[in-house]
Each structure stands twice: as structure tokens, then as C-alpha cells.
């Protein structure tokens, strides 16, 4: 049994060395139209995915601060940020209203009403941010939000753009 557990842990740790690919999952845009997550990959620029929900205050704080810093973005390529709400379809309208009412500059809201994207990315709590490179490979992730996390995230984006 000890051997089995040891092998299991070793195999688990080995996974960290392999880049996760952006899963292809159906999402909705702000008008409710379906959009596939793989369409976020444009082959030219990396992009940020921030998982949030209406009842998560740290999520809203994180998106607010990213949005407030958006006009100051000085990276070599445009900054692409997608805020994916994991609110269920019952809270979809509220999430849409909240996203529009908060007026997040530079952030595209998307909606994962059946939690398919959340499950595919193995998100167990929000907020969690992901940075994918231009080919959709995961290069950075962070769970939770502490004020200042947005600075670290933007540094990672610059790095992934080669600056």
C-alpha cells in the first residue's frame, strides 16, 4: 500500500511539469449567444481568463483593479482579458447586469452557466486567474485574490509577450 501511495504521489507531482491546454467548452457571451472557449485562442497574443461569480467579493475586487489599471497597460501587445462568470443560469441575468453595471474597461465578460468550463479547468474555488499563451497553453495560474495580485499577473502577461 505504501508503495502504491508513493507511486501515486510521484505521478501526481510529475503532472506539474506539463502545460495544460485551454479546454474546448461551450460558453455564452453577454447576449446569451454560444461561444466556444477555443475561439479565445487567436495564435497571436496571450490572454487572461479570470473566473468569477456575483457572490464572490474578492473576484469583483480583482476585476475592478485590473480594469482600473487597464488604461495604463504598456505591454508590447494588446491586453486580452476574459472574465468568465460561473454563476448558474438562474443567476445569469444578474451576472450580466452586474458585469454591465460595473463597466469593466478592457474586460470581456463570458458566462459558464453549466460550470462546464469551471470543471474542465478544475477550478475548485474562485477567484482563480489563468494566463494562456498565444497557442492556448497554460503558463500561469493563481487561486484567490490579495490586493497587488493584479501587478504580479500583469508582469506575467508581459513576460509571456516576451517583454
Amino acid at each position: 500500500m505504501k508503495k502504491l501511495v508513493f507511486t501515486f504521489v510521484a505521478a501526481l507531482l510529475s503532472i506539474g511539469a506539463f502545460a495544460q491546454q485551454l479546454p474546448s467548452v461551450k460558453l455564452q457571451d453577454i447576449s446569451g449567444k454560444p461561444i466556444n472557449s477555443s475561439s479565445l485562442i487567436d495564435g497571436k497574443t496571450p490572454f487572461v481568463v479570470s473566473m468569477w461569480m456575483t457572490t464572490c467579493k474578492p473576484c469583483l475586487k480583482e476585476l475592478d483593479t485590473i480594469s482600473e489599471g487597464y488604461p495604463d497597460w504598456d505591454g508590447p501587445q494588446p491586453l486580452r482579458i476574459y472574465a468568465v462568470s460561473i454563476d448558474d443560469s438562474r443567476s445569469f441575468s444578474r451576472a450580466v447586469a452586474l458585469a454591465q453595471g460595473r463597466d469593466w474597461e478592457g474586460i470581456v465578460p463570458l458566462f459558464d452557466v453549466n460550470s462546464d468550463f469551471k470543471r474542465a479547468l478544475n477550478v475548485s474555488s474562485v477567484p482563480q486567474v489563468f494566463l494562456f499563451d498565444k497557442k492556448g497553453k497554460l503558463v500561469y495560474t493563481h487561486i484567490g485574490y490579495r490586493p497587488g495580485d493584479e501587478e504580479v499577473l500583469l508582469d506575467e502577461v508581459r513576460k509571456s509577450m516576451g517583454k
Partner: protein, 537 residues
């Protein structure tokens, strides 16, 4: 268990194999979560039945092109307090393979599904609530290239507390976008949707069968339900309507004097929703009526718990996040209620008189819920079940300092409106965040609850210091100075690194409802040390 671990090892070894053979074997991702509490005896909250509790979850997914597979496992040496005892043990709770070439998707094994807004069917996982009811079977979905037509058929047995239930769900769902199906490019979207679902029950709990036969009827083995939905959107306007009809099932009707009458009755639900946004102003309003919509995996004479559920009936009011505002939440009365919820959001632009240099965000929301007279023993004079109004104002004063002012006025009937008496409470919160440096910040919440009912007045404070991106330390205390004089304190430290989050908390937790997504479970009081590890890889 050994067999499960072997399957797991094969999946986990795929990346190693890919390195060895330099072939594209796809990518593996997953998550591990462990939530454990060491319980301690306490003069206020007493002693927990078990000295410890531990809920553990593992999930691994493999993805290569349009193929995917995965598994999930759970292990509860002792379930945490407030979770069903039936969870004790270990089990493989998910195992699936899926093929998604684009226009259609085929999935075999375990899957989560929701039809419409979940009134008819929702299988989902929520670890805060102890819900994990995936369907184990198959699911086929098809859509046309322009999404004009979407079809779905599915069948499977729901999981209940780690075990396959004796219930089988089969359902079909169709969704038609009128402009798209006729190939018309239109800024208007008009969608018509319909679903049908059958719940086959292979065996019934003995007590339920006895109650049914004593009332002179036989329990049906098939319960057929359906739903019809309309959606319209144009520019910033969206409208949605849904109606659900539930087939006749075992029902315990509440009568005066605490008596119950057992019957076979159907149920229904209606939902209407409007959402409008222009610029940074948005409004959403929702009406919902439920009648006999409790839809369990299996009927039981035991208490209704979230784990034994097949549909989604969240409470029609704001899901509170501040400690005192969430002290006595409203819980949906599935036997019969109708209510309204509305929210208005507005962002005052930077540079305006009220927005100032950095802008200000405003939200006001409210709800009003009445029980249906037919669902109450006192049918002649139903009273208010719940109402609230919530206002929050978020102001950014500078790059370093921001505040939130929040007021919540709530009135909740402990009898769902069967009697006139209600519990009213007014909650006031000031929440301030100050950034000392780019990565060091402190947050302070001060809260006050004024009430002349229940446990009367409370006050609370939360203090948190954060060192981005890794560390945070927090302390909180809820003090019931109006009645019991009890303190409910918590202290904790958390660490994050990439996909890893570890937190250690110690304190006293009050008994009450724990809610997630508008669904609530009962949490007994306890004192203890809580270690939580979350790792996404």
C-alpha cells in the same frame, strides 16, 4: 480502492509516457482538495460527535484534441459536521470519456447537466453543500453550424452520497433560434426551447410505500415532467420565460394541527425574467412561482437535504456575503411560494461630480416572497414569507484607499408566512481597504445588526492583512451583545502559490444555514481547527 488507484495511475502516467515517446498524448489536468477539521470541546457550542472530520476530493482530466476522459474520487474518513453521514467512506464518483468533434458531442459515463434554469433538472457539484449528483449513463448533443438548432438526449442514474441511486433519469431537450434556423442575419435573437424528462424509480423507501398504501394509492414508478422556454434578446434587452410541469408524485400536504395528508400530486413552476442594460446602467427583474416543486432523487420520510435533489431551486433573494447579513438567510419553500427579485446597478463615471477621480459603483436590490396559500396549513390568511432591500455603494477614494458601505433590511417569517410574526433585522456594514505598498494591504470590516427579535443585536469585525501574491492573515469576531453574550471568533492564515492554496483557521462557528448559490444546508455549531488544501494542476 486499489482498482481505482490503478486507473488513476494509468491516467496520471500519460504525461510521462508522452515525454518518453515524444508523441502528442494530450494534456492532463486535475485538482485535489482536502478540507479537515479537528473539533474541540467548548462551553458555548459543546462537543462535536466526532473528534475530527475530513472531506477529500480528487479530479483528473485528460484532453487530446476532441477526445477527453477523466475521473473523480472522494474520500471521507469522517464527513465534516453538517454533511450527511452517508458520505462516510471512499468512492469513485466520476469516470467518463467524451468525443466532441464540433457539431455534436457524445459522452459516456458520469456527467453534469442542467436543463433551462434548473427547475426541471440540475445535476451538479457543490462541495460547500455536500451535493454531488452527476448522472451516470450517456449524453448526446447536436447543434447546427449556426446554432439555429440544438438537440440533446441523455439518460443516467444520479449519484447520491457516493452511491448510485435506484432512480433513472432520461430526458430530451430541443432549442431553436428562429432567425438563425431560417438563415436570417438579425440583431434580434428569439429562441424557443422545450424539454421532457422521465424519472423512473426502481425501488421506494419502505416507509414511503407504507404511507402511500395507508392513504389508498400506489406510488408511480415513472414521473414524467416537461418544460417550455422562450428567450428574446435585442441590443441591451433580454427577456426570458419558463414554465415547468412536474408529474404526479408522492406529496405530504401540510394541514392544521401539524397533521399531514399524503397524496399523489403534480407540481409546476413559472419563471419570468427581464434584463436591460445601457452604458453603465443595468437592471434585472425576476418573478418565480413554485408549487410542489421539491424533486428528490428518492422520496424519504427523513429530512430534506440538498444532496437528495434533482432540480435547482435557489432562494429568490440576494445571496449575502457579509457575516451578519447572512446570519438568518431565507431558504426556498419548494412546497409553494411566489416572489419577485430586482436589482439595479450603476457605475458613476470617473470625472463626474459623484464619481470623483476614480469612479463609484452603486447597487440596490430587493425581493418579496409570499408562500402560496395551498402550501400552508393556515390557508385563509397567508402572510409575508420574506422581503429584503439591500444597498451597496463602492467608492474608490485613491489608488490606495477604497470603501464599501452596505445596508440590508430583512424580514423573514420562520413559518414561511403561516403566521403573522416575522423576524426583522437591519444590517449596516462599512468595509475599507488600504494599500500600504503595491503588494501589502489591510482590510477592515465593521458590521452591526439591529433586531428586536431572535437573538437581538449583534456586532462583528473582520480584519485582514495581505501580502500579495502569497500570504494573508485574518481575524474576525461576531458578538451577540443583544442576547446571549456569545462570541464567534475565527483567526486564520492562508498561503497561495500558483494553483496551490492552503489555509489554516481556528475558531468557533455558530449553528445556522450555510448557503451556496442560493441553496442552503444546516450547519451545527462547532469549535475547531480547519486545514484546507486546494491544488489545481
Amino acid at each position: 480502492m486499489r482498482r481505482y488507484f490503478s486507473i488513476l495511475l494509468i491516467l496520471l502516467s500519460l504525461p510521462l509516457a508522452s515525454r518518453a515517446q515524444e508523441r502528442d498524448w494530450g494534456s492532463v489536468s486535475g485538482s485535489f482538495e482536502s478540507n479537515s477539521i479537528l473539533y474541540m470541546e467548548d462551553p458555548v457550542v459543546g462537543k462535536n460527535k466526532n473528534p475530527y472530520g475530513s472531506n477529500n476530493y480528487l479530479k483528473v482530466d485528460w484532453l487530446r484534441g476532441n477526445l477527453s476522459a477523466g475521473l473523480a474520487a472522494e474520500y471521507y474518513p469522517e464527513p465534516l459536521s453538517g454533511y450527511p453521514e452517508a458520505l462516510k467512506g471512499a468512492a469513485l464518483t466520476g469516470l467518463y470519456a467524451a468525443w466532441n468533434p464540433g457539431l455534436f458531442e457524445v459522452r459516456a459515463g458520469s456527467f453534469y447537466e442542467q436543463i433551462g434554469s434548473g427547475l426541471l433538472l440540475r445535476s451538479w457539484e457543490d462541495r460547500e453543500l455536500g451535493i454531488n449528483n452527476p448522472l451516470v449513463g450517456g449524453n448526446i448533443a447536436f447543434r447546427t453550424k449556426n446554432n439555429g438548432l440544438r438537440l440533446r438526449i441523455l439518460g443516467g442514474a444520479p449519484l447520491y452520497c457516493l452511491r448510485l441511486s435506484d432512480t433513472f433519469i432520461s430526458a430530451g431537450d430541443v432549442s431553436i433560434d428562429i432567425p438563425s434556423i431560417f438563415g436570417v442575419e438579425s440583431p434580434h435573437s428569439f429562441r424557443i426551447e422545450g424539454s421532457i424528462m422521465d424519472r423512473t424509480v426502481r425501488s421506494q423507501e419502505e416507509n414511503i410505500s407504507l404511507l402511500a398504501s395507508s392513504a389508498g394509492f400506489t406510488l408511480p414508478s415513472n414521473i414524467l415532467s416537461w418544460s417550455g422556454r422562450l428567450q428574446y434578446s435585442y441590443s441591451g434587452l433580454s427577456l426570458k420565460a419558463e414554465y415547468v410541469g412536474k408529474g404526479a408524485d408522492f406529496t405530504a400536504e401540510h394541514l392544521k394541527g401539524g397533521r399531514e395528508k399524503y397524496d399523489l400530486r403534480g407540481g409546476s413552476a413559472a419563471l419570468a425574467e427581464i434584463n436591460y442594460a445601457i452604458g453603465s446602467f443595468s437592471v434585472s427583474a425576476l418573478y418565480r412561482r413554485l408549487e410542489n416543486m421539491y424533486s428528490p432523487i428518492f422520496q424519504t420520510t427523513g429530512s430534506r437535504i440538498p444532496a437528495n435533489t434533482l432540480n435547482y431551486l435557489p432562494s429568490l433573494c440576494m445571496q449575502q456575503t457579509y457575516l451578519l447579513a447572512g446570519l438568518n438567510p431565507y431558504v426556498t419553500y419548494a412546497d409553494g411560494e411566489s416572489g419577485f427579485q430586482g436589482d439595479i446597478y450603476y457605475s458613476f463615471k470617473k470625472g463626474t461630480a459623484l464619481g470623483g477621480k476614480y469612479g463609484m459603483k452603486f447597487h440596490v436590490g430587493g425581493s418579496w416572497i409570499d408562500a402560496l396559500p395551498s402550501a400552508l396549513p393556515n390557508r385563509d390568511t397567508p402572510y409575508l414569507a420574506y422581503r429584503d432591500i439591500n444597498i451597496d455603494l463602492e467608492k474608490v477614494w485613491s489608488r490606495k484607499f477604497r470603501t464599501v458601505f452596505f445596508v440590508s433590511i430583512q424580514e423573514n417569517s420562520p413559518t414561511h408566512g403561516n403566521r403573522k410574526a416575522t423576524d426583522a433585522q437591519n444590517v449596516f456594514v462599512v468595509d475599507g481597504l488600504y494599500k500600504f505598498t503595491k503588494k501589502v494591504a489591510a482590510r477592515l470590516e465593521l458590521q452591526y445588526l439591529y433586531s428586536e427579535e431572535l437573538t437581538k443585536d449583534w456586532m462583528a469585525a473582520v480584519a485582514e492583512v495581505t501580502f500579495a501574491p502569497h500570504w494573508s492573515i485574518s481575524f474576525s469576531d461576531m458578538y451577540n451583545h443583544g442576547s446571549t453574550g456569545n462570541h464567534y471568533y475565527q483567526g486564520g492564515v492562508a498561503y497561495s502559490l500558483s494553483g496551490l492554496n492552503v489555509s489554516l483557521n481556528f475558531g468557533r462557528t455558530r449553528e445556522g444555514y450555510v448557503c451556496s448559490g442560493g441553496v442552503c444546508r444546516w450547519q451545527p455549531a462547532y469549535k475547531g481547527a480547519n486545514l484546507r488544501i486546494q491544488w489545481a494542476f
